[in-house]
Symmetry: C2
Subunit: 236 residues, 2 copies
Amino acid sequence: MNTTTLYQHGTLALLVPGLLAGTLTMQDLLRHGDTGIGTGAGLDGELIILAGHPYQVTAQGAVHEVADDFTVPFANAHFADYQPLMSVLGASDVDLNHQIRALAQFDNAFFSVKVTGVFTAIRTRAVAKSEPPYQTLAQAAKQQRVFSRGEIAGTLIGYYAPQIFDGIAVGGFHDHFLAADHSFGGHLLGFEKVTGDVSIQAFNTLAQHLPVANAAYRGHDFSADDITGDVHRAEH
Amino acid sequence: MNTTTLYQHGTLALLVPGLLAGTLTMQDLLRHGDTGIGTGAGLDGELIILAGHPYQVTAQGAVHEVADDFTVPFANAHFADYQPLMSVLGASDVDLNHQIRALAQFDNAFFSVKVTGVFTAIRTRAVAKSEPPYQTLAQAAKQQRVFSRGEIAGTLIGYYAPQIFDGIAVGGFHDHFLAADHSFGGHLLGFEKVTGDVSIQAFNTLAQHLPVANAAYRGHDFSADDITGDVHRAEH
């Protein structure tokens, strides 16, 4: 089992012009990891994979496990081998990321973060599924719902990508969240405080898998797309 | 044997600020392919790997096979499974690339090109090895020699990278050449005409391996580097 490779299907640049077709099944994605994040075809909600179980947070706020034939336009997955980094007591979201970067010293590597604990004033979002013909990421991302909880226990799974890979991945941190009781989750927008345990897993390889059989992807001219601009507006 | 993955050690962005240490041995590189291109530590010449044999073209114009412990800061490798694309009769370098792109229809995929034939008015370059402390790519690349031949038989091995990966790889084509009699080779600058056979091999995955154990890489702040600008000036 390869625990030093981060698998990525699709690349964020695809989403910018609306290449949102599902081009990999969950069954195939799970061959590359038991842990991960992603979205469904047409930006259908927010995915978080924990211990081999792929959960979807829908734009209605519901959390459920998806089937093997669920397809994704973009996802990250890896086989978990997290190493403890630190415990935090009432750390803010900004402080958490600063402390992780300072301790990990992996600014130029891909790594994953796992935080289990209690979060206060946590906000997430989930995008509503678009149907073909797909709109751009900027337009599709407007169809999102924002959720919040005053205090909730759960797990944050995130990936850090070096700035030189911005546009391929989200440069910096890209975090999803799932409540321990599965009552809440999504793409993490922020939180006030977290108390819990932080572990990380560094990778030496990004396995960037592209949907080369997809006609819309093969035929698209990316030269006019504002990739990093639109990614940052939608993912941060 | 995986013939749909292109392995890349290092990323072009590393070379820009002069992160030129050899961070992978040839022995390790050859585990990921029998075909490829690259450069040695300190930009020590131009590498071309054919049928598992790694050849180096030095700045003196000499061609020889390198040892298992030869190290590289940047290289591509894959296991050859080329498929015939076309034959060309007196095609220019620009026409060759245009025809390959038009026929392959893989503008958004990584693929490799192999051309065996006779080339006229061919020009190559090889960079001379720098010693630490390394200069930037722009400075180090000035220490290069340019070679030419009026007519020579040989093999072109190249990689095409989609524009959205420019900076990670060389967006567009990046070609190296080796003469059949090993009397000439290097990073391909251009040629007048080629007559021969063209084959390609498309990949669905880029396995981007980073030198995460290298202290200079881990500690470098890329934010001030003009990555795509310097890569284009040095590699095109």
